[in-house]
Symmetry: D2
Subunit: 354 residues, 4 copies
């Protein structure tokens, strides 16, 4: 029940602060005999890497991952895989003001209340920099899931919802939008927010296809519950939906049913997917679908009323280098968490079923 | 990492099927020396009990709880508390059709795919009847949390959203509505859905006040992530929001900030609560606020296209006794899960901090 | 990390006190589709049942087990199996003196120090009565392990070591001795200790054959470490050895080696088994062998100096009904714990390896 | 339930192979605000460091530890503490023969059977080199336990038992013997075994004083059971005793009792400590005492009959650099595991009791 571990049979423990010497993770329980090298992990990290467009933070981190254990002659050995990324571009001087006063909407005050002290450099442990290790571990999880295809995309920014869906479009724009028209609009939206020293929220959608029926373990290791935990734990996330989510609450039973018909290979064919591929906490063989709400970050230039550590009233404006819309870089993180949950449940299912 | 256990230091394991002889749970890790008797648990079960109005299932279950261990002379001893409720009103004859074919939207097919067999009587383990034990365990959790006040209410049914909020109203109507006008409208709405053999979705809101700053443990035991897990694992739930949830994704950073000012007792006063009382996965001392989406149940009289266990096409209408809107009886369950998460985190926090 | 749960994928949670209304357990994670009924569990409980000879406690408990969940039409469903045994022959009046003062060697003082209160009736939760549920759960574990044969026997009582080994003898005497001559000697030894109001220690040996190479998970879920945990957690146990145990510490490397030769079916043949079938925490395919030391119980008629709850000096003699040698009834418990550890590791291994 | 994690609230995850680039661990759940730097950890590592006398392996490793996270301005922050040691003196050329055939008594065959492949360089993950991280993590655990004093010593080598006990002697000889006469004898014994290319077993004893009554959590997180798990999981350990251990099995009840008398400060005084400071799985306030049996390592120059990976018969002699008596360097490891178990239970106890 480690605070900083995730998963059970396929289990990831992360460590590290934004401005420490390095960040890292340990992936335990990985099946042996899988081909794995840094080259299998790095591309996923590169998708999340900061400083790639003007729409993300300008911190320059190569995020070059090293495998320190658990792989021998190109294959996983079944023992813990240690992954490490050196922090390169720390500018701790930016954070003196953060050390003095709490940034509203940030974890500053909560960490102080919990621990009695905190590492203010770049948010310390609460920094989204940690999500790099989720992405790295997620790349290992993908090796466990050759039958599954995972993808995520941005569905809305600042309330502007994409109306089209062309999966080929996702990799063609800096917003991971599946709609070229939306990407064009968001460019202006982001530029305007960035120039105003503001930030924008976003909705990220994700899908996993190829998941067989039977993964997930009722009643307290339900697949949807574990996905909700995984997604809500990503920095800045405030909402999670499986399938139709909140929209389902406005439907009638007959509208929300996913009728079934005999399928070609013995498994049923579903005529709809309101459920998002999960019933009773167990995958049904349909695509898993979910949606994640990212709030606008609190790292804005507009001064906000706050309290200093010494208890006095003050205002704070967050300088430093920040993402104007963290939801964008959330896309590879959502994908990684989805992979981590599925890899764990694949192993758990075969543990019980053989 | 038991599939059927919930929590870590304050940990609940539930067992039992809808139509077995009994259902029960074991509450482990409860602090010793707390006053506890059946009379402390029964009132919460009575709130969830079926058959209390025409808007819930007509199954008649007294749900009389017995404490079988862990309490001596009216006090918890620190050892496992075993709670048991006998099943009284099983009518297994209703379920022959369910055994033959899968009810779309139910867990029938998923359980068969996972386990290779299933108990079809009343949904077996997947029945919402199990939530009685969550409510019973939640009553024990409340004893661990004298400083916290928890309440939930129905905010919308079938897309009809309550506009008023009067907490005193909640216990006065069969919908746990905090708005008398909404309750009046929902009476018609539910009657109409029930007569049509249909069902309706609902949104439940919940709040916990009195939670001190500092509960929750980053990064993979975040309070909001654990709440999302707890809520998404309730039968029929498809979405969870903390604070502003999806609405936050449409805001700008300055709109979403919760400015702080020095408070009377040393702790800061917050000027807003978009965050729902949690920052960086840790409670801030503000009220914890969340919202949960319940789908309309699939147990409807309208026949739906489906597949029989033998692979042939068929239609199925769910007879038996069912809730036309499971979200209503979800209210005490949401409260219980909120109590369980908070009790566990209270103990975890003091384990690390002393 | 429940205090009262054991195992991970195959996980048992027990509850109940010596003099409460019932004791029970929940077995979670059991594979579905296994044949299971009360008749598969009861014979193992009957072996442990008290009152069967003058060498065990005279408390009369039928220990009739009921399955309350997790089995449908004679097969496990994969959901939690709840087992319950009613307590029948409680005589709480015997324990007023125990409530007043601490019995040296018992858990009385330690429980009070830990919890601030305790249930003194029959030792409450610390009573060896709880081991009935270990035996019941162990019977379920055996259903998971059709390839494995487990047996235990008493090797020494009060320092008198059996020299012969005839497995057929084990079930023919009330001591589970594998040596008829030793059984004859122990009859006198036990009678004499019993009449003197004293008690005797014992050594129990156990073996599991048919365990394939590969179970156990280094480095902190080693099979031998988990067995040591399981055995040391049995009431009155003070020592555990795997293979040669402490005797190995007096050997030289060449004496302790288990040389290997090519075997008939591809697996190697071992020419010795000093290691007790486990190397590096992983089973080697040889028989698993271990040895467990039970202290003499502290429940003796001889008065011992002690302290009352009010802090004053006093003497205490333990009346009530007690085993003069708890190691004897420890035999089915040792077998059960061995089965539980192996069932868990079988599932864990196939979770990682498939 | 990570395979490579240890503890629950104070939880350590280790990674790394004997001949990989580095080894490391993550310590999670450490209370915040404790003074900690590399200088607090290094001295304990230096005690375990190889190559310090002719009685241990000649591999030269500085074992210089680095703290990569979880400490800010000299204090623990409550977030994961990542510790890393670079491997410096790997000579992988020594291990070609090991890759070809299984060393009897080693984990070689078991790892191959479990994982289908293995890293043969220096034993890979099964190497005792990993115990450096246990010692490093144990140093952090000591910071959590200022009230506790832990020490271990060698009690016997190759069957030659020390008869005296002078704690001041422990640090004065290369065997951690508490008896100067025994140390003198063991010098000859070890020299003779080393020259013969053989190895010797050993018994290590350990004690923790200052542990208050009440740590440990019945029934499946008993302090003695967790200690047994911790000790049996150390490389080469085959037996564990708490208090009198196996000797207790030869005693009568009145000989084994630990009589109590009123003590000066309200807590009782015990007149004996057969129990080793633990009753019912809970500490009693007496010194915790245990004993651990180390087998002679299988890394001997004498050729032993074995099987090659290709299934053919062969002989193997283990060259490389090895400890003639691993029990000696086991002393700081036993101490570390004792500290880790106690730190975890301290936090668990205050989680439940406050």
């Amino acid at each position: 029940m480690s605070h900083n571990s995730f998963g059970h049979l396929f289990r990831v423990t992360t460590w590290g602060e934004s401005h420490g010497p390095a960040i890292g993770c340990v992936v335990d329980g990985c099946p042996p005999g899988l081909a794995l090298s840094e080259a299998d992990i790095q591309p996923w990290l590169d998708r999340r890497r900061p400083g790639q467009s003007r729409f993300t933070t300008q911190r320059q981190e190569p995020d070059a991952v090293r495998i320190l254990s658990g792989v021998f002659e190109g294959q996983t050995t079944g023992t813990p895989i240690s992954l490490l990324i050196d922090n390169v571009d720390q500018r701790s001087k930016d954070y003196t003001e953060v050390a003095r006063a709490y940034r509203p909407g940030h974890a500053d005050y909560a960490y102080d209340a919990k621990y009695g002290l905190r590492d203010p450099r770049g948010g310390g442990r609460s920094s989204a920099r940690e999500t790099a290790m989720r992405v790295a571990a997620g790349a290992v999880a993908r090796a466990v899931l050759p039958e599954v295809r995972i993808r995520a995309w941005v569905e809305a920014i600042g309330g502007d919802v994409a109306t089209g869906f062309d999966p080929d479009e996702i990799d063609r724009n800096p917003f991971w939008a599946a709609d070229a028209a939306a990407a064009a609009r968001w460019e202006d939206l982001l530029d305007s927010a960035r120039k105003a020293g503001s930030s924008l929220g976003a909705v990220v959608a994700a899908e996993a296809t190829g998941v067989p029926a039977g993964w997930g373990a009722p009643l307290y290791a339900k697949l949807d519950a574990d996905l909700a935990h995984a997604m809500m734990g990503i920095n800045a996330v405030k909402g999670v939906e499986i399938g139709d989510g909140f929209a389902a609450a406005a439907l009638r039973g007959e509208e929300n049913a996913d009728p079934m018909r005999p399928g070609a290979d013995g498994a049923p064919t579903f005529l709809a997917n309101h459920a998002g591929g999960i019933a009773g906490g167990i995958s049904t063989g349909q695509p898993i679908r979910l949606r994640v709400a990212f709030k606008p970050t609190s790292s804005i230039l507009t001064p906000v009323a706050t309290v200093a550590r010494d208890g006095t009233a003050t205002d704070i404006a967050t300088r430093g280098r920040h993402d104007p819309c963290v939801g964008i870089r959330g896309v590879p993180v959502v994908e990684a968490m989805l992979a981590l949950v599925l890899a764990d449940h694949k192993l758990r299912h075969r543990g019980q079923r053989g």
